[in-house]
């Protein structure tokens, strides 16, 4: 076989061949596994933005964040709600209950809390980076939803970090006291630790912007009504599990109350209450049996914002149940004596409180007199119940409490407080018995403790009010060294302080 061999033509062909080869090679090399996506590819479509937004909620559902630590985990341990951790001084939670922030495992828990929150904030900034330029990709109200929810998430996460890692305005009245970095850009350059007043101003700015964007979609489809939903429009379903416009208003109410701005706190709390999008469960007809498909142990109709945690069963079985003959070391429970005292069982008319241990549909599992587990997080075996696997973050009752605290007159305050009490089936309070602000505050405190067991709100209340003695405590007298978490070592080492 002889090849006709022409020097010039051969080399020209070779060069052209190489050129074509390089071009088609480039295309051939542009490949990616289906489980990953690059920034360029992800943000070239609306679906990519939606995926990134849903990813934020999935990150918030992790155990290091609202999935455990910021709800029924370390925050309620710090508020001394679990007798089991007051007794145990040998594990992480036991050390936390004693406010020992130098213990190695406690440090590591707080550090991963900090890291997870900021990692989620970074993802929110990732979405916000180019979303305005990509506005044309979105249909309907999706642009406002994605951008508004990303802004609202950023604010929510920063606010909770502020409440934990910085002193409260009552604990340290100095407005410029250093608090936390407020990250608004997707970057690896560390942000400066800002004074508290500046962080609060930035929070307000983000939330106001989010409110304006989300106002285009104020509909709330109740969780319980979605049980038989066959629609394919999954993105706008379950608004209570996403940061809707009412959740943004509720957050603003919280922040204003935190700052001491009662006028605005009342205004926003009223807006949420008067919207009538959320309602209290019916104390007489609500069922709580985890095995049923319609029970509602978590009171989902009251959720202004709650997180859906798809693997909640694993954690709730671990912490709120025991299969052995005795409570396990990790379990979180309290004693019947404590519950009876908190829910004022001895006082006339209070035993029927739907949140208490003697309610007809009780959400308490009494293993024995000193071991009582809460059942609100139970997930039924092989049961599809849309009201399960939820962790509440902002509830309707808190709006009423904020309104009561921010009210100008005692009568107005009591009217809000009594709405909650009636819904919980306990008798209302009259202005004659609750005649001073101190008495009102006492009642509000009792309400926070009754309503938010295993929901991580009582610690924030104690810290905001700067109470010096906590009930049932093993941690001694409170001061800023116990109320304020230390910044993680890595933050001190690599951050801008």
């Amino acid at each position: 076989m002889k090849i006709i061999y022409n020097n010039k033509a051969y080399s020209v062909l070779l060069i052209i061949g190489l050129g074509i080869l390089t071009q088609s090679c480039n295309k051939w090399l542009d490949v990616q596994p289906s489980t990953q996506t690059t920034e360029e590819k992800q943000f070239s479509s609306e679906q990519g933005y939606k995926d990134a937004l849903i990813g934020i909620y999935q990150k918030m559902a992790q155990a290091n964040s609202y999935g455990k630590e910021l709800s029924y985990g370390c925050l309620d341990v710090l508020a001394q709600l679990y007798q089991s951790k007051s007794n145990a001084n040998t594990d992480t939670y036991g050390q936390m209950a004693r406010y020992n922030y130098t213990d190695a495992t406690v440090k590591s828990t707080l550090s991963s809390l900090w890291t997870t929150q900021y990692s989620t904030i970074a993802q929110a900034n990732y979405i916000l980076k180019d979303i305005d330029a990509d506005k044309g990709l979105f249909t309907g109200v999706n642009y406002q939803l994605v951008k508004g929810e990303a802004l609202a998430t950023r604010a929510l996460l920063h606010f909770d970090l502020l409440r934990l890692f910085a002193a409260s305005p009552v604990g340290n009245p100095t407005e410029d006291s250093p608090s936390i970095p407020y990250m608004t850009a997707f970057t690896v350059n560390p942000g400066k630790v800002l004074p508290r007043a500046e962080v609060l101003a930035l929070l307000e700015k983000d939330l106001k912007e989010a409110e304006a964007l989300l106002a285009v979609y104020p509909t709330i489809d109740q969780i319980k009504d979605n049980a038989a939903n066959t629609s394919l429009e999954v993105f706008t379903m379950f608004r209570q599990n996403r940061l809707n416009v009412w959740a943004v208003k509720a957050l603003l109410a919280r922040i204003y109350l935190y700052r001491g701005d009662k006028v605005n706190a009342l205004k926003y709390a009223k807006e949420v209450i008067d919207s009538q999008k959320f309602e209290f469960v019916n104390g007489n007809t609500n069922t709580v049996n985890a095995a049923s498909t319609t029970s509602n142990a978590i009171f989902s109709t009251e959720h202004i914002f709650s997180i859906y945690k798809s693997n909640l069963k694993e954690l709730s079985d671990r912490y709120f149940k025991t299969e052995a003959g005795a409570p396990e070391n990790e379990d979180l429970f309290t004693t019947l004596t404590n519950l009876n005292s908190w829910y004022e069982i001895a006082v006339a008319g209070h035993a029927i409180d739907i949140r208490g241990p003697q309610a007809s549909n009780s959400r308490w599992n009494q293993f024995n007199a000193t071991t009582v587990y809460n059942t609100k997080y139970y997930v039924g075996n092989n049961v599809t119940n849309v009201n399960q696997k939820l962790v509440p973050v902002i509830k309707l009752s808190e709006m009423y409490y904020i309104a009561a605290e921010a009210s100008e007159t005692l009568e107005q305050a009591l009217s809000y407080l009594n709405k909650v009490r009636t819904a919980r089936l306990i008798p209302t309070l009259s202005a004659s018995t609750i005649s001073t602000p101190t008495l009102l505050e006492g009642e509000l405190f009792k309400e926070y403790r009754k309503d938010f067991y295993a929901e991580g709100q009582l610690w924030y209340y104690y810290k905001r009010k700067n109470y010096s003695t906590l009930q049932n405590t093993v941690g001694g007298t409170m001061d800023n060294s116990k109320y304020v978490f230390p910044l993680p070592d890595n933050e001190i080492e690599f951050g801008l302080n």
Binding site: Q58, Q123, D317, N329, N497
Partner: protein
Amino acid sequence: MKGSSRQTMTGNTFLAYRYKNLIFKNDLTLVSNKGTNSPYGSFRQYAQLNPYWTPYNADGSYKVYLEDILNEETGKRLTNFDSYDNLTGYVGRPVNPLYDATLNLVDQTNYHSIINNFALEWQAYSWLKLKGTFAYLYQADESDRFLPAQHSSFTNVATFEKGSYTKGYGKNQRYEGIFSANFNKTFDKNLIFATLGANISQENNHTETFKVVGFPNASMDNMSQGLQFATGTKPEGTENIKRLAGLFSNLSFSHNSRYLLDFSFRLDGSSQFGSDNRFAPFWSAGAGWNLHKEHFLAQTKGIDRLKLRYSFGYTGSQNFDSFYGKTTSQYFNSTDYRGMIGTYLLGFGNNALAWQKTQKNNLGLDLTLFKRFDLTANYYIEKTEGSIASISTAPSTGFDQYKENMGDLEAKGWELYTRYNILANSANRNNWSVFVNLFSVKTKITKVSNTIAALNKSANEKLSSLPITRYAEGQSQTAIWAVPSLGIDPASGYEIFRTRDGKLTNTYNPLDQVIVGDSRSDVEGTFGTNFEYNGIGFNAFFRFRLGGQAYNQTLADRVENVNARLYNVDRRVAQERWMKQGDHVFYKGLIDADGYAISTPTYATSRFVQNDNLLSLESVSVFYRFKDQLTKRWRMSNTKISLYSNDVFRMSSIRRERGLDYPFARSFTLQLSTSF
């Protein structure tokens, strides 16, 4: 560990066929492997059991739980020590690992693979040879892990979820093709070689895992006999695909066998690079001079070979995961959010991240004297531009590190390979030689990137509260950072540190870290001997290193940051830690002067930075080669029987733990080889 095994069966056929000026070669290998893991678990579990426990009950059967302490007044079992980590996934009561080993456990993996290499050579003309090779690899993996309901990790699990079977499947495929044209021409006293070729490859793999629970009957260990998938879980899997394409070429020229010139060029592209810098070109050139062929040396007795070499070229590497160059997100695998699956960021993608390019300059000498002494020496200077380093960042950014072309590095080093033949008889195979190889290299940072320079500048302006500089010009790249320590205070049991201002303190502050050592050795190398006389032979291979330090993490993990309350600890915790005032010891206090436990962890301290010198005998073998005359009657030749052993001894100036999961095995191999 008892019960663990690896069985591999390999079969290989090699076929070569020549037809006129075509050569076909095909090499097919089939491998089947089955690995079983020990039911006794890892050795680490046993190392941490407290020695005052016994695994046996009074009647001789195995205990399930190792500890049962009763409150004397109430008679109830104490539960506040139930945080023992059994390393099987169960944290709670300490469980007897021997009990779990008696159960019907299944823990195995197996894989089958086919590897086929096909090559075709065509001598088209006397000066042109065309080659093509095609390789194919296919591997199928399977893993099974069955835990019966009685296993300790299910103690606190609901009845119908006890027992689990985790099954995994994996598949890996790889195709690779290399095509080249080889050209050679001789004219007068000149010789030219040239190669031009291309390579292309694709690798894809995927895995799936399923977990089934509910096996009340311990002997039913088939996955389909489980009651249900683990609640709240679903099948999980991964998928990956990678493609490479490249172009390569070489040109060599030699004149009169004295003067040599080489040139090579490569162009590589990978699917893992961002589309901006997908292809990276590299080239190198070299020159050599065979002095021993020159007329002025050809007469000199003794100089059998004297060659001077110099080469210059560029190489590059992309030694980072692709998501560091381009921000990438991964879809969540095991959870969902109301039916939707979102993405999460894998890392911070630095769009400016480029290949690091290294310029290599090498000056070399090859010498052979009196046919006995061989020497090869190299002196090289490598300048790396845009060296890629991981930069730690504050967690408030959402990331703990990112990659950056940190700056320029310069490495200067030399290598020496020598061999001396004490005995070399060409008539028979008797020989005895010793060899010594030495290497040494020093790397320093010559320039830092603008970003790093800015960070350094702001750190220098506010000394006390800003991060310490980790990359600075003139600094070694292998420096060890720690806080300088003055030892343990005999009065308190706490460590005394020196701060950056020169003051003394007991409080650890990560900002006080300075450079306390360097992990690069001054010189390292290998040496050994090869000997054969009358068929009896002996080989030994040693490795050594001198100079440089290392951070002895074992001391931190095993002596100071221990949980003595729950686990068995190193003897030094009881004997060498500070216990009372007046103790002059090396390790910090277990309790302080008032008797309270010291629970703050030990962080990077100069106390644990130790000199790292090493001498080890890496392999030794003895053999006997049968004389061919003996074996001729059975038509066998080159028959040899050898015994060898690896990792014979290791002497190091640092006493460090090298691993606790699997016991160190001293292995000996006996090998017989022959040809027919």
